[in-house]
Symmetry: C2
Subunit: 107 residues, 2 copies
DNA sequence: TTTTTTTATCGTTTTTTTACGATTAAATTT
DNA sequence: AAATTTAATCGTAAAAAAACGATAAAAAAA
């Protein structure tokens, strides 16, 4: 997934970047927002909401899942996804920890 | 930068995705962390810290600048960058606003 | 003025991402 | 059992990102 130079950076940089990268597409944001709104698992309905082909949405779901943003369970023929709250927390914590300002700016 | 389908998504989805995308590379995270640590502008020193060619770092800086994460000022021959605190705030706000949990999960 | 330093930009190659249709596989319906 | 529905995966094409060296442009030092 990363460029082979991943090893050149720290654990934290890679973790944070990976989480952010998964967030870096409007379709994936839309999916997360949809999942966070309805407090139940949305499944193929996501496909109906997005202006993308089923296979493409499936791909985006996979990306989000691999990054840990969502988790999916199979329920019969259907597939149910939901938001991983811990991911959001972890992300926020990482952001706060590493970009915490020493309350000053220069330019 | 976006795929031409950008128009298919909402303002918010695009904004959030753009900010996140710029964060989606370990080198760019490393740059932001460096800028946030020393409470002064770091310039070409960033190049020394990263395991990348000067031109590549320059590219990453440009990406961060375009996304609004940093701003740069020219000072003589040197170029001085610093973190844009508002970007972090804006990002956090967007995240919180749109991924706010209705305190329940299903799977 | 010439040389050096510093950083941005150009041109190019390689890798990754995005997107889609087609196919597959599994569970329901009929 | 056959047909249908749901979602993942495959193959592929097109677009974007990442990386680098070379070059350019501007300021500073010699």
């Amino acid at each position: 997934m990363a460029t082979g130079k991943t090893a050149s950076f720290g654990e934290m940089e890679n973790n944070l970047a990976e989480l952010a990268k998964a967030l870096g597409h409007p379709a994936r944001i839309a999916i997360l927002v949809a999942l966070s709104r309805r407090n139940a698992c949305v499944c193929g309905e996501i496909v109906d909401v997005l202006p993308l082909a089923q296979s493409t949405v499936s791909q985006h779901l996979k990306a989000l899942k691999e990054a840990g943003w969502i988790s999916g369970t199979v329920e019969g023929v259907k597939s149910c996804y939901c938001l991983n709250r811990e991911a959001l927390d972890r992300f926020r914590t990482l952001l706060d920890t590493f970009l915490k300002e020493p309350e000053n700016t220069c330019c």
